[in-house]
Symmetry: C2
Subunit: 209 residues, 2 copies
Amino acid sequence: MIESQEFQEPLVNTEQRILDAAKLLFVQKGMDGTKMQDIADSAKISRTSLHYYFRSKQKLFEAVFYDQFDRFLPRVTKIMEQEITFEARLGQFVDKYLDLFLANPYLPNFMMNELNRDPEKMIELFAGEGLFSKRVREQVEGELRLMNPSLEASHFILNLISLCVFPFIARPMVKAFLINGEKDAFSHFIRERRAIIVDTLMCSINDAK
Amino acid sequence: MIESQEFQEPLVNTEQRILDAAKLLFVQKGMDGTKMQDIADSAKISRTSLHYYFRSKQKLFEAVFYDQFDRFLPRVTKIMEQEITFEARLGQFVDKYLDLFLANPYLPNFMMNELNRDPEKMIELFAGEGLFSKRVREQVEGELRLMNPSLEASHFILNLISLCVFPFIARPMVKAFLINGEKDAFSHFIRERRAIIVDTLMCSINDAK
DNA sequence: TATATGTTTGACAGCTCTGTCAAACAGAAT
DNA sequence: ATTCTGTTTGACAGAGCTGTCAAACATATA
């Protein structure tokens, strides 16, 4: 058997084209609102071919889901382990997530939809990961206690996540009302937020009231 | 014709029972994921009766939608017009929204789903209302400029909305990881947030860096 | 009692969606 | 040329969902 790989790619990998099309449609119209025909059309293949690649709609959805989910939990341990100030670590964390969402604008919505459709599945998947892991959580609690004992870690973490994630969830709203529709205005606006989020959170810590 | 009203209500108003059931299902499973049969079962009537009350699924959905939407835009002008400090007004605003969402826990998700399903419809409906109205917006801009000229109103408003709304959108997550599943823990947690949100936002203003 | 109005239901027609199959097609290996 | 593998497609069967209709039912009025 002669090894004759790398000959595929008609124009661009069909499987990836399907995943891209499916992701977009699943996010916009939901799992049930999206028909296999829609995905096939969008990927420029026949619906039967779609079934050839992903046997069923459920399987396709799961493929899209896990593909997205894996991106959602970048290892924060690297950030946590660094011997730098709390503020610097916070900055890195915010950076990482804003960049992630800018590169994958549909990720937050996708995750929130699933969270409400099937909370138990999502909670199980999230359990012990990232900010929800015991280790990270306890470290944040310890550091916060030193700086401002009256500020509960739960609220601080929720503030952090809210400020990072919500603008993407409400993106059409932000685009329409908070920025003036210039080209690339949204990503510019988000990059401005990096410093704003860090400042806001830091001063909520330092504000020993 | 003798006026013989108020004789209906078998046990409780059927129409309202339908709306309640439909709201819950539409939020959890989406418009397309919800079948008329599901709603009928949940409201304890036959599917045909459901059609009798709301001719079509679309009409039922719209009824639910506008019923929800109307709650979503409490008149903030009353708050804006009061001659009180900025902080006091901010507090009233946060109060009003947290109470609203506590009483209608599915509202934020419902609105965000629709925002992504049909952004133009939502933007049109929101335009000029509440925080997005020109009047309110300019007042906030003016007041902020006096206190901290380097803080843009867009970011401030987005921070405010993020901190108020996101915890409800991610509610299952908050319940699972940030509070320890006690009875009424969520609403208690949210009431704690009232002061935290106001403090956080105020100190982001005062922090003239 | 008879009649009118409002409500509920079972049955049906029509449509849409999914998933399968067998056949056609393309290209590489023999 | 033919054989084999992987890909694409049209056609079909089956299931589920919506919306309508006519008939039954309940209740109040005349």
